[in-house]
Symmetry: C2
Subunit: 267 residues, 2 copies
């Protein structure tokens, strides 16, 4: 059964206890390098399959080597199994080399849980979907990752595209898939790493390789587009941090992430 | 040579390639459980010893089992060695059980690096040291971790102590060690996990076990007390997040962390 491009692209096959195969979809690459969030979605599927719980509540991942499309293995080592949470070491392997290693803690989030406390949504809010800039999905093809996602960006955060970086490390946008796929845990894994690097608004250029990314799934997302709020605190010594909050169409914080990355070299 | 209580407590002995011994100091426990930041300091020392770089730039750790004082082993598996960064899997082991597992990326931070961009310090600021509440160090003994650290808390964030939680998940305070030890990478590892859980200001009580904590060292800290700004975004389904920013006496952001933890059960 074909689920959707993203559903198919994150399919895993269990070949032994704690061992899975995947055929990584090169369509989710930027250049030759598969998007980190896409890889985390594949790893999360394996972690959940091997665990007694339904959701990847916490994922901390080190990106070791560039991953291109094609067959790969996922190794899941269970470190602890508990009643409310279980933790595994999950490694994406090709040619006996680890490409990504992650610590994934699974738990089960209930659909109708009311928060006992929730912080205010980030300000400024994202403008309505129709007032945001398209990433061009459906018009141009052959751009890899950008063809797979339907993203609409807050114009106030996209000046860098025209050589007018805003001077603030912030990028905001709406997120969904071109081939429809309703938000779930795996879509959230992509969402937290889907924005262009916030350092682009400080004049950085080019690819900004993620060194480490940790994200937490906080609630089951409602159907509809996800609002992504990306920001950073410090750029120094060639390193920058990027925080992303993901809010769903029901106005709930559903995921939060921080990554640390290397500043891209200027062209 | 005796360095200081904290220096001694984080000493490691290399017994083979990628294998270290430590004698964990029960004086850094809260109840029977050693403070998580203290454990991360010990793991960081092993990671740096095994790496070609000087500082633990990124640490992501899963807390699997309660660690008490006493001898333990640290296993360091090098996953990648690069020119600017190297990444290891670092595991704290006792009786063949993993207590903590971490992904640690080392790099070398230069002392006089000027940030190319820096966000504003968090508001509100921490009141001056002398206007903050003592944790009682030097007066009462036998309280474990609280005896090892010299912390002074912003009174506005300590109402929970008197049954008057502020209703906001925020705690702020100054941080140092009772037995003087100048801030460095290992002190920062303790600082990011030294505040009482921010959920206490929402009426939570008791121990709030950390499930995962990721922290990044962003700069070499200047001598003097560290300012800790702790806050949270969401408490739901028994999970809460806690972010801590650490600012040094020179007014620089030197470390940032997020942990996800279980809400303590009410007494």
């Amino acid at each position: 059964m074909r689920m959707s491009r993203f559903g198919d692209a994150t399919e895993i096959r269990r070949i032994a206890e704690g061992r899975y195969e995947a055929d990584l979809d090169g369509g989710f690459a930027i250049g030759d390098a598969l998007n980190g969030g896409y890889l985390l979605a594949v790893l999360a599927r394996a972690a959940v399959d091997a665990a007694p719980h339904a959701h990847p509540v916490s994922t901390a991942a080190a990106f070791l080597r560039v991953a291109e499309g094609g067959p790969a293995e996922i190794l899941v080592d269970t470190l602890k199994t508990g009643r409310t949470a279980a933790t595994s070491r999950v490694t994406l392997v090709r040619d006996d080399q680890a490409l990504v290693e992650a610590l994934i803690t699974t738990g089960t989030l209930e659909p109708d849980t009311e928060p006992s406390w929730a912080g205010a949504p980030p300000a400024p809010a994202l403008p309505p979907y129709e007032e945001c800039l398209t990433s061009g999905s459906g018009e141009v093809r052959g751009r890899g990752f950008a063809d797979q996602v339907d993203m609409r960006f807050d114009p106030a955060t996209m000046g860098w595209l025209d050589g007018q970086p805003s001077g603030r490390p912030e990028i905001r946008g709406w997120f969904g898939f071109t081939d429809p796929y309703e938000p779930d845990a795996y879509a959230l894994a992509v969402a937290v790493d889907a924005l262009p690097p916030v350092a682009l608004n400080l004049g950085a250029r080019g690819w900004a390789p993620t060194v480490e990314l940790t994200w937490h799934m906080r609630a089951l997302p409602a159907p509809g587009p996800l609002a992504l709020h990306g920001s950073g605190r410090l750029v120094t010594g060639g390193w920058f941090d990027e925080e992303v909050e993901v809010w769903d169409s029901a106005g709930r914080l559903v995921a939060q992430s921080r990554q640390i990355a290397r500043v891209g070299r200027k062209a």
